[in-house]
Symmetry: C2
Subunit: 231 residues, 2 copies
């Protein structure tokens, strides 16, 4: 008997932070029957915020019904927040999907699609304060599950997220094997990977460096949230 | 004054484990002046062992002199171990480069290029026993530095590797900021990310699953090691 296909779709958009996607891709592609779809408006190579060029596999128009949809994050989400093509695709797929998921600031795109209302969720620490604009209940954790909504924290949290999904779908034994296969016994050299651990000075410096992009993001989030309100 | 370019080149080959490359890419691309080159025989999309299609940026013929060369790992290295085009490129670049590096089983390719003789090095746990075939001194650690040779352990160790390189090149302060930016405060859900932590049963199961590919690898490593011996 063949393993049934389990279709996993990532939105692949210009200006994504590629590790938000490539981390969980590496984990989830090890699920028996996994078929990974990288979905965008056309099939031309898509560039990450740091220039990595990745080929989409499907357009929004021709993507099959997904079992799991995942929106990664990155500076490029600012444009997605008010992009009707993207938001319609996510809303449409979220009906049929078993899981609706995000990594990093991809959560805000789910919010803009109206999928976070009343739900517990997380995102990159720097954008965590924006979750409430979409009616979400912000939770500080690396992976947050609320029914069939699963959100991961910033960038590298996508690896933890992927392992949590594997455990949920295929059991702990496979997840343990994948953790070993990927030698996921991390030793962050400086212990500054969360705002609490990094301390206020470094956090303030990072916020200052990102002030422009976070300013645009706030405007876009408010615009998207307003569009969701009943007329 | 402009920040001088620091050219970082990854070998991008069919059948690579993409996270071996995309993990350190995400970290190293944040180095001021970083220019990332993905180098292969031609510029057609290269597929990872799990189907991710990535575009190279340079051919071996037209790649500029690199400041840091990095060989990621994956099942595809088996072919690289006896590929003269690849080995010549690595040898040639290793003369001029400030750092010669690998992640995961990419270390074996450095070995086949003759660059591990007498050097302390690491690789993915399942291939660790093969390092000695190239005259390396195997070290069990996530990141091993021996002069200008820096090797990382399996797959996710590439993130730790990237942060170590940033600290070496640009100082601890930047590395701490990148660790926070990537929210690298990992929480491996099952604590099975190293053979010691996973225990003998799971290790034996993983070795059995990989027996075929490891068998071919051993033959290729011996062939490559023999080719390095003085006639």
């Amino acid at each position: 008997m063949e393993t049934p296909l389990f279709r996993i779709g990532f939105i692949l958009f210009p200006g994504l932070t590629q590790l938000d996607m490539t981390g969980p891709y590496e984990v989830l592609s090890r699920l028996p029957g996994a078929a990974i779809h990288l979905v965008w408006k056309d099939l031309a190579p898509v560039r990450s915020d740091r220039g990595l060029a990745i080929l989409p596999t499907d357009t929004f128009e021709h993507c099959p019904t997904l079992d799991l949809i995942c929106v990664p994050g990155g500076p490029g989400i600012n444009d997605l927040l008010t992009d009707d093509t993207v938001l319609s695709f996510i809303r449409h797929q979220s009906w049929g999907a078993r899981y609706v998921t995000s990594v990093c600031t991809g959560a805000l795109v789910l919010g803009a699609a109206g999928l976070l209302q009343g739900k517990r969720a997380t995102t990159h620490w720097m954008s965590h304060g924006l979750l409430a604009e979409f009616g979400a209940i912000p939770v500080e954790a690396r992976v947050v599950t609320d029914g069939r909504l699963i959100t991961g924290g910033g960038v590298t949290a996508g690896i933890d997220f992927g392992l949590a999904v594997i455990a949920e779908l295929a059991g702990r034994k496979l997840a343990e094997a994948i953790e070993l296969g990927l030698e996921y016994d991390p030793q962050p050299p400086f212990g500054t990977g969360s705002p609490e651990r990094a301390g206020p000075e470094l956090v303030a410096r990072m916020r200052a460096l990102s002030a422009r992009i976070q300013g645009v993001r706030l405007e876009q989030v408010r615009r998207a949230a307003a569009a969701l309100e009943p007329a």
